[in-house]
């Protein structure tokens, strides 16, 4: 059968691609799957720090592609989970060191040994993005409920369709339910209306994401975090499970929770 290759991309930078890759990888691996994440953001690597593996890098993606090491040597094992690996990006090179066919070849080599290959795409729609989507069986577009992120997501969706990658699924990240309620943030429905693609997850804004990133421990490992729960739900949907979307109203504030209890 072989691995599913999933690329996470967004157009705009800073919307949560790397955070999503780290968390989906952790969630899938915690469930017993064999997972490899590839940081395709050559020159601006970050998946290593988000996952807390920055001190263990010896070889990187470009070393593998240029034949300076074997694939296995560039795979850093995450000791928290039995079968989770990271192939870091090269930091001192640029996107031109890798081509789309290099990425396809690399994934073909990995495919038979793992269940999931998650690729962290760089921002933008140029070479690095093209490298990241080339081997993908499935693409997830991540956006924030905010004008520039939604506009860029729409561009990326258009390019993916034009390149024959099919219609991607959407992750809406950093949704602030209180602002939505006050009419000061696009709701998940608004974003879906505008982008008109299938939704795979809504991740609420959660301070714990920053705390987790500070520590290099993906928030999906924190069973109290709502964002962590949202990422674990997306991982289950990736596997084809039917998981209802979480009630974003829940737990927004203690007072609201008391009101809701009263209503039950």
């Amino acid at each position: 059968m072989g691995a599913q290759v999933v690329t996470i991309t967004s157009g705009k930078g800073g919307v949560g691609k790397t955070t999503a890759v780290a968390n989906l990888a952790v969630a899938l691996a915690a469930d017993g799957a064999r997972v490899v994440c590839i940081d395709a953001d050559i020159g601006l690597r970050n998946l290593d720090v988000v996952m807390g593996l920055e001190n263990r890098i010896v070889y990187d993606l470009v070393d593998v592609i240029e034949g300076r090491c074997r694939l296995r040597q560039a795979m850093i094992r995450d000791k928290r989970l039995p079968e989770l690996y990271l192939i870091p990006a090269a930091q001192t090179r640029d996107k031109s060191a890798v081509s789309p066919s290099d990425m396809i070849r690399l994934c073909e080599e990995l495919r038979n040994d793992v269940d999931w290959i998650l690729i962290d795409s760089p921002a933008g729609i140029e070479r690095g993005f093209k490298n990241a989507i080339a081997p993908a069986d499935q693409v997830l577009v991540i956006t924030n409920p905010e004008v520039s992120a939604v506009r860029d997501a729409d561009r990326v969706i258009g390019i993916l369709e034009a390149e024959g990658k099919g219609t991607p699924s959407l992750i809406i990240n950093r949704l602030n339910q209180t602002m939505v309620k006050h009419g000061d943030m696009l709701s998940a429905e608004d974003v879906l209306d505008l982008l008109a693609i299938k939704l795979i997850g809504i991740v609420p804004e959660d301070d714990q994401v920053i705390v987790a990133t500070n520590r290099g421990v993906p928030v999906a490992l924190d069973h109290k975090s709502r964002a962590g729960q949202a990422f674990r739900d997306i991982a289950r949907r990736l596997k084809g499970e039917q998981v209802p979307f979480m009630n974003l109203e829940a737990g927004s504030s203690l007072w609201e929770r008391i009101i809701r209890l009263g209503r039950k």
């Binding site: 905010e146 506009r151 561009r155 696009l186």
Partner: protein, 84 residues
């Protein structure tokens, strides 16, 4: 309070502005080009029939991820012209 009710919520502005921007992004057609297209379209049609120019409505509409150019071009009726 009245002011509060009157001012449009910012999420509504965001959605309305995005709706327009996305239609133009998806078609790669700037508003000025759309105007030029309208003029050309009317010029061609006018070569064959007379048009009620003031009532012409041509616009881009979104339908899921696909866009359509919707043109409503009323023709000047001959009977009306005769009676007028």
């Amino acid at each position: 309070m009245l002011n509060f009710l009157k001012s449009k919520r910012s999420a509504t502005s965001a959605k309305e502005r995005l709706q327009l921007v996305l239609i133009h992004d998806r078609t790669d057609l700037a508003p000025a080009e759309l105007d030029a297209l309208k003029d050309d379209l009317l010029a061609v049609i006018s070569r064959y029939v007379e048009i009620e120019t003031e009532q012409v409505r041509i616009r881009l509409e979104g339908d899921g991820r696909s866009q359509r150019l919707v043109a409503d071009i009323p023709l000047r009726s001959k009977t009306r012209r005769r009676s007028g």
